[in-house]
């Protein structure tokens, strides 16, 4: 809450007409940048904690006890069973210049795509990668996602020569649920290791993860979202 308030306050400051139109003095503009950057980092930190708590709940195999209102929730997150696994969710603030430290340097990484719209969308995802590798993109049903590795113009990589690897991995994220998200598992490999046989779990029904109730259900057939 404190971090959200901080971001709200900074956004309030940046509603000033000089901040919007670019008619503030240079050092004031630079201060606006510092303020919004630090507020975003603070909220990013908070979001990481919230998302990890969400992950912790969703990956628990034990059903949490219901409270007096009937909602399933642990009274104290610290007393909940240990999660099967946890990981951080990080924003890459240099995506606008095709640079991201995680996607360019890790052998395995996950991309989570959050759709803030109230209707389902499909969206082409562009992820900065190291062009000297091949990649596999897989969704949660073990379905390989067609993708393409494409070079970034040298004029763009020149903006951050020490950070941008110069390539982007492009794939289509289909049926992003309204106000919900999907994740993709991406592995980089030398070319000879690709196309190894893998068991496919195509019979697993679509799972829609919705942020506001954070439930994961796959028992019942899912109705397609209405657009």
């Amino acid at each position: 809450r404190v971090h959200l308030d901080y971001l709200s306050e900074v956004m309030g400051v940046l509603q000033h007409h000089d901040a919007i139109t670019g008619t503030s003095k240079e050092h004031v503009t630079q201060d606006y940048t510092v303020q919004i950057y630090s507020a975003l980092k603070a909220c990013s930190y908070s979001a990481k904690i919230v998302l990890n708590q969400l992950t912790r709940r969703q990956t628990n195999t034990d059903k949490p006890p219901e409270n007096e209102h009937g909602s399933a929730r642990y009274k104290d997150e610290a007393t909940s069973p240990e999660p099967l696994f946890t990981f951080d969710f990080d924003s890459c603030l240099l995506l606008n210049v095709s640079a991201c430290e995680i996607s360019e340097t890790r052998d395995k990484f996950m991309v989570t795509v959050y759709n803030a719209l109230a209707h389902s969308v499909f969206h082409y995802i562009r992820v900065p990668v190291d062009g000297s590798f091949e990649y596999e993109v897989t969704d949660y049903r073990s379905v390989p996602i067609p993708h393409q590795i494409i070079s970034v113009p040298p004029q763009v990589t020149a903006l951050h020569p020490d950070k941008a690897a110069g390539f982007e991995l492009v794939f289509l994220a289909t049926e992003l649920p309204p106000i919900g998200y999907k994740s993709f598992f991406i592995v980089r490999k030398p070319a000879r290791m690709l196309n190894t046989p893998r068991v496919l779990f195509r019979d697993i029904p679509e799972v829609v993860l919705v942020a506001n109730n954070a439930q994961m259900s796959s028992d019942q057939p899912q109705k397609p979202p209405r657009n």
Binding site: F87, V121, Y124
Partner: protein
């Protein structure tokens, strides 16, 4: 020296032998003229003592009526693949662009990179991307109102008084938060942007958006500094072109959905899962 084209099942765009965008072909087989280029206005310079001597600056856009094309030949690199087709254009040392068509999108994406704008010649520059079509727009164009309804604009005209423009370029510029469009009853061309910019239609069939400016003089409206930083800027324009009759979904619907998807585009989060096997993660 070859003419190239990129496209998908909805349409394709062609580039001439000089590397400029030159045409767009729709799925019904019809081909239409459509070109795009960058140019810049030179900023007016004055002592700011009287109105006619006002400099172009942070508050006002005031070109000295000089319009300069940045190049007559574009270096081009063409990339085609199963997901996206791209043409990488290099206009000069400080302007480049990627024209991009994804396999399942029914619009053209222009990702421009402008800067650092050189001012070694002592001239402030206001860089514009201009699209020219053969649409007979009859002095009329449309700009959005803070992302809401489209407002009709008539060149060299105001609704409530007789206008005599002293500055025919700046006087026809309007704020474009998300969308600027022209149409002629049969076809419609809309350019959507990823940030608020100034834009206009200074001749029938043409649309332009200002993407970057670097000026050497203050305009004496209060900031007391020239807009003279050498930042490179990267952004996107989205072009939708189609027929007004029988288009499903309608042009208006296509623009409205694209507007929402770009203003509230998906957020990406990255996680290091190096220590996990896929099956565990799944």
């Amino acid at each position: 020296s070859n003419v190239v084209s990129i496209g998908n099942k909805y349409f394709s765009v062609g580039f001439d032998s000089k590397g400029f965008l030159s045409s767009i072909s729709l799925e019904d087989g019809s081909e239409h003229k459509l070109s795009q280029n960058f140019f810049y206005y030179e900023g007016a310079v004055g002592d700011n003592r009287v109105f006619k001597n006002r400099s172009s600056g942070a508050y006002i856009f005031r070109p000295n009526s000089t319009e300069r094309w940045v190049t007559d030949h574009v270096n081009v690199k063409v990339i085609k693949g199963p997901v996206v087709e791209e043409v990488h254009q290099t206009f000069n040392d400080w302007i480049s662009q990627v024209v991009r068509i994804y396999r399942d999108y029914n619009y053209v994406e222009f990702e421009w990179l402008v800067g650092s704008i050189p001012v070694d010649d002592g001239v402030g520059k206001e860089v514009v991307s201009r699209f020219v079509s053969d649409i007979q727009s009859s002095n009329v164009f449309y700009t959005d109102s803070n992302g809401r309804e489209m407002i009709k604009r008539v060149r060299d005209h105001r609704e409530t008084w007789n206008l005599q423009l002293q500055e025919e370029i700046a006087g026809n510029y309007y704020p474009v938060t998300t969308n600027i469009a022209i149409e002629d009853g049969q076809r419609r061309l809309a350019i959507m942007n990823d940030r608020a910019q100034g834009g206009s239609s200074l001749q029938d069939g043409a649309l332009e958006l200002m993407v970057q400016r670097r000026l050497l003089h203050d305009d004496a409206f209060g900031v007391a500094e020239a807009l003279n930083q050498s930042y490179p800027v990267r952004g996107k324009h989205f072009l939708i072109f189609g027929k007004l009759d029988g288009s499903v979904p309608s042009m208006a619907a296509r623009e409205r959905f694209l507007q929402a998807e770009k203003l509230l585009s998906p957020w990406l989060f990255f996680s290091d899962v190096t220590s996990f096997e896929y099956e565990d993660w799944r």
